[in-house]
Amino acid sequence: MTDTAPAQAADTPTEATGPAPDHLDGVDLESWGLGTNNATGLSNNKLGMWLFLGSDCLLFGALISTYLLMRHRGTGIGPEDVFDIPFTSVSSFVLLMSSMSMVFAVSSIARGDDQKLRLWLLVTSLLGGTFIAGQVYEFTSFYREGMGYTTNLFSSAFYSLTGFHGVHVSVGIIMLMSLFVLSLTGRLKQDRAETVEIVGLYWHFVDIVWVLIFTIVYLIP
């Protein structure tokens, strides 16, 4: 285990250009290919996360499209029968707040403040957990009102879309808790700030998707 490690070398040219070897003046050839000279300026890990999130956009895009097509096609119980907008607004607000605490977590580790990092990781997880609890409550009450997964097109599409999002949030909470444990055991230090940042990217993405889902599914009649 190493305690000191290079941060991203900010001054490293991102792309070697020009026709002759002269252009490599100042390039740290020793570290070429070692992740500090990436052409995109992003580490592989962060770039990978961005790519994954790009792909995930299409996943939710397809699910949201499906929901929009299904919503009014079937018969029986519909959105207006079950939705409790004030309740979901509160849980949406909780999830949005977790994005803020995630920002604090990222800035804490950037400063090297482990205590604060753990605090904000915990807060973010708890807010996310609250959202999931709200979703579980919501699903249960919908079910009690007679809206099972197989009831009609609307119910299948609704549960699938929000369920996929719920799974995303849950995975995020597991990541946050893992970071928390790693920090507790001293394995998550300032030099690994990027890891928290990458988890943060994921977390913000999931929040933004929820803003979309909340607007499209709950608010637009």
Partner: protein
């Protein structure tokens, strides 16, 4: 003589010295980390992109045999009218499995094989961005394919809904065997493989190119593969959603495609083809990349209009998203949609045509040597042209309403995917074989393979144009006498067996060439048997596990060629160095490499368990899930690279794996755990 300036080797990168392979590190205290590079274990646990590429190719060729046998049974059944060698039910399973196998388990993985093997070599990288995720992708694909094919034995019948699986014919009512469950879950698994592979390869190309290799200096194959990976990145989630919906319908009684509940079956068609059309380019673009490498080499000229080739490839990548509904001209989507998609489909022919003309222009004025790879490449140009032109006739939507779902379509897409993709791939096999295995395939057998395959291919699929225009629908297990279908079907069947013969020649060639290489009089082809242009030929054959002794510094497109040839004052091109003098020997032993890992294969082994469990017994699914969690945890807690391996403790700077291979790219299944890989380094 003013020779073009060459970089000397002194600028190349020296990596930290250390033992070639890491000492084993306890991971989780359960397993010793695998080590060594011989024996079957070294293949199962490898993270070396070249071995993974080779395994992709080998697995794809195995599935090609499976799909080919399915095709031969189909053609035998159709050799004459009113035959009943096999039942309609079995026929429907066979054509479905043939299609899915050839698309998802043959053409796509061969593309992945070339991309895995070649991209790091062509961009001068040690390995891909996430070596363990690369192994994960391969095993995920393989286990997905095995799972899918296991339906023959335990599914009560294989999938019988066609590769396109139109709802509601795939619902439990209309397809009561478990075949379509295997289809939905199997493709989901291979889809995860493709998605993770795409993230990996895009990050590799964007981040890990050798010094000096700008995007516009990349070899065309790498470019086309990059476009392919972006298509995969965005197409896979769409088919994933479609397959989830189908799975939920079939296993959990959801209503997505239940017409009696009000569902619209066109939803499936749209989702499927939004994925399905980019999929076509996913299959063909790597082959375009391959011939863009081979035609210049065997014409002894650079590719004509590199920028046009590259941008037309990228244009295909973009336009490929706006043409999907041309698969649905007869599906009742309304005249305005039909007109819009007809026009967009016509214009996607433009960038494709550009490529054909650029390849011709590359050959123009060259000195062509008709080696086996060159023959296959010219085969692609000529055969794909036919497929492209019949494609234009589909873009003419009214004409398409006569042609769609007839054998004319079958002819069309086989000219594209067999005449296009497979000709390119086979040419690529012959071309890069020495780089992968250190020996050439026999040229004589190769040429025999080409001519028999060309003849067989045209005999098989050429007559299908006629059959289609005469009104023979596809996906029919039999046809009547008296419709004018008899002769051409018989010709087609004969052609199919010729194709089979050509691949027997190929497999014989593989075997006999390997035997040749063991003879004492055998002479190594050296690093550069073809007088090639790109830098994968600048290292030894077979490529050593560390790829390059020194990371090459790139100043030109076709860097390797520029190191071999220069221009005199009077503008004559002359050889300035022998390939052996320029190429690296590949015998360095002190390059630190990413360590092998047990976890990718273990993780992937859990997927079929989960799949079988969902279909038959949830207990098995939970066992699979537990294995997946264990493997994910192992993968996450195992250092992506061995921090103590090789270097001991010194400057952390070089303690990263050469590829920064901390495997942090998240996938739908392992996002959380992989994240931690970076934490424990």
């Amino acid at each position: 003589m003013a020779i073009v300036e060459r970089p000397s080797t002194s600028e190349t990168l020296e990596l930290e010295a250390g033992p070639r392979h890491a000492t084993p590190e306890d991971a989780l205290g359960v397993f010793k980390r695998p080590q060594g590079d011989t024996g079957w274990r070294s293949w199962l646990f490898t993270v070396d992109h070249k071995r993974i590429g080779i395994m992709y190719g080998a697995a794809a060729l195995f599935f090609f045999l499976v799909g080919g046998i399915e095709a031969l049974i189909i053609r035998t059944q159709l050799a004459a009218p009113d035959q009943a060698l096999i039942s309609a039910d079995l026929y429907n399973q066979l054509f479905t499995m043939h299609g899915v196998t050839m698309i998802f388990l043959v053409v796509m993985p061969i593309g992945a094989a070339f991309a895995n093997f070649l991209i790091p070599l062509q961009i001068g990288a040690r390995d891909v961005a996430f070596p363990r995720l690369n192994a994960f992708s391969f095993w995920c694909f393989l286990f997905g394919g095995v799972f899918f094919n296991s339906s023959w034995f335990i599914g009560g019948g294989a999938a019988d809904g066609g590769w396109f699986a139109y709802a509601p014919n795939t619902s439990v009512i209309f397809s009561p065997s478990h075949g379509m469950d295997f289809y939905a879950i199997g493709l989901q698994i291979t889809g995860i493989a493709s998605l993770v592979g795409a993230i990996n390869l895009i990050a590799t190309v964007l981040n890990m190119r050798a010094p000096g290799m700008t995007l516009m200096k990349m070899p065309v194959f790498t470019w086309m593969s990059l476009v392919t990976q972006f298509l995969l990145l965005f197409a896979m989630p769409v088919i994933s959603v479609a397959l989830f919906l189908l799975t939920f319908d079939r296993l959990f009684d959801a209503n997505f495609f239940d017409v009696s509940a009000g569902a619209d079956p066109l939803l499936w068609e749209h989702l499927f083809w939004i994925f399905g059309h980019p999929e076509v380019y996913i299959m063909i673009l790597p082959a375009f990349g391959i011939v863009s490498e081979t035609i210049p080499v065997f014409s002894r000229k650079p590719i004509f209009g590199y920028e046009f080739i590259v941008f037309s490839g990228a244009a295909i990548g973009f336009m490929g998203w706006g043409v999907w509904a041309h698969h649905m001209f007869a599906s009742g989507i309304g005249p305005i949609s039909v007109a819009a998609f007809a026009v967009s489909t016509m214009f996607i022919a433009v960038p494709t045509g550009v490529k054909i003309l650029n390849w011709m222009a590359t050959m123009w004025g060259g000195k062509l040597s008709f080696t086996t790879p060159m023959l296959f490449s010219i085969g692609l140009v000529t055969m794909f042209t036919i497929g492209g032109l019949s494609g234009v006739s589909h873009a003419v939507a009214p004409a398409d309403t006569q042609q769609t779902d007839t054998y004319y379509i079958v002819a069309h897409f086989h000219y594209v995917l067999f005449g296009g993709a497979l000709f390119g791939f086979v040419g690529g096999f012959y071309y890069w074989w020495p780089k992968a295995f250190g020996h050439m395939l026999r040229e004589g057998l190769g040429k025999a393979h080409f001519w028999v395959m060309l003849l067989g291919f045209n005999l098989t699929f050429g007559p299908m144009h006629v059959l289609g225009l005469q009104g023979m629908p596809r996906r029919t297990h039999s046809y009547f006498d008296g419709y004018g279908f008899n002769v051409w079907n018989l010709v087609s069947t004969i052609g199919a067996f010729l194709i089979a013969l050509s691949f027997l020649i190929f497999f014989w060639n593989i075997w006999v060439s390997k035997r040749d290489a063991k003879k004492p009089e055998w002479v190594s082809p050296g690093p550069d048997p073809w007088d090639a242009r790109s830098i994968e030929w600048m290292t030894a054959s077979p490529a050593p596990s560390h790829n390059f002794d020194h990371v090459p510094v790139v100043t030109h497109r076709d860097e390797f060629w520029y190191r071999k040839y220069g221009e005199t004052d009077d503008h004559r091109i002359v050889r300035i160095a022998a390939a052996e003098d320029v190429a690296q020997t590949g015998d360095r032993t002190d390059v630190h490499l990413p360590a092998p890992s047990y976890w990718p294969i273990l993780l992937c082994a859990s997927f079929p368990l989960i799949g079988w469990g969902l279909i038959f017994n949830l207990g098995i699914a939970f066992a699979g899930g537990a294995l997946a969690l264990l493997a994910l945890y192992g993968l996450a807690m195992e250092p992506a690279d061995d921090p103590d391996g090789g270097h001991g403790h010194h400057d952390d700077h070089v303690d990263h794996s050469p590829t920064d291979g901390s495997d942090a790219a998240a996938s739908p299944t392992d996002g959380d755990a992989d994240k931690e890989a970076t934490l424990v380094d």
